[in-house]
């Protein structure tokens, strides 16, 4: 089951929904809004999605995960809009007969979601600055900075 929502993520309901007598293990991952990143203080975060493609992409993730790992149930929920410190931005819950598969699947899902699903995060820092986060642009900038040195 996949979900893109502007409401707070109910990880309790999500976890219960993947529990099953066929499973011996449940792994839940939560991404939460951290206050400090590399010494810079975050005030709040804004998440924007390309909704049609994001839900299509998350559905594909779920299917690819089922094809790759031996899992019982999968839930992927991503929140968009304004998030405060400590809020949950993403929840991924996986149940599986055995724990190795539950851990591997959970990790693959969040790693791959962050690579593929068209959602963007804008940092609103405590000093008033704001900045869209774009991993690859940052890497290019870092490389350019290194070349200039």
């Amino acid at each position: 089951m996949i979900e893109l929502t502007e409401q707070p993520i109910d990880f309790n309901a999500i976890t219960e929904s993947v529990q099953s007598n066929a499973a011996g293990a449940v792994v839940l991952f939560l991404g939460t809004v951290r206050e400090f990143t590399k010494g810079v203080q975050t005030d709040w975060l804004e998440y924007q999605a390309y909704p049609e493609m994001a839900t299509a992409s998350m559905s594909k993730l779920e299917q690819e995960c089922r094809d790759t790992f031996t899992v019982t149930e999968i839930v992927i929920s991503h929140r968009i809009g304004a998030l405060q410190l400590g809020d949950i931005s993403v929840a991924i819950a996986v149940s599986a007969p055995h724990r190795t598969q539950a851990f591997d699947a959970g990790r693959w899902l969040i790693d791959t979601l962050k690579e593929r699903v068209p959602i963007w995060k804008k940092e609103h820092f405590s000093d008033g600055r704001e900045e869209w986060q774009h991993p690859v642009i940052s890497q290019q900038q870092q490389q350019q900075q290194q070349q200039q040195q």
Partner: protein, 86 residues
Amino acid sequence: MKISVLLFAAAREIAGCESLAVEVSGITTNDAPTIGDLRAGLLHAEPRLAGISRSLLWAVNNEYANDSRLVSESDSVACFPPVSGG
């Protein structure tokens, strides 16, 4: 041909709008245009995107698309910076 391009995140912010109508044609009159053609047309329509244009990703009908992908007016086309969700 005019193709509407959805914009997201920094691309949307720089352009100041959620989508842009981009004028584009293939190399010859009968050719369908490609994403590569659209990339050039987008910069013509909104020169302020030049600063990030090399890192912009494209999608056609909810799938990532490279520069050689053909597009038509009935496709859903979007353009955005590398993703940063999670």
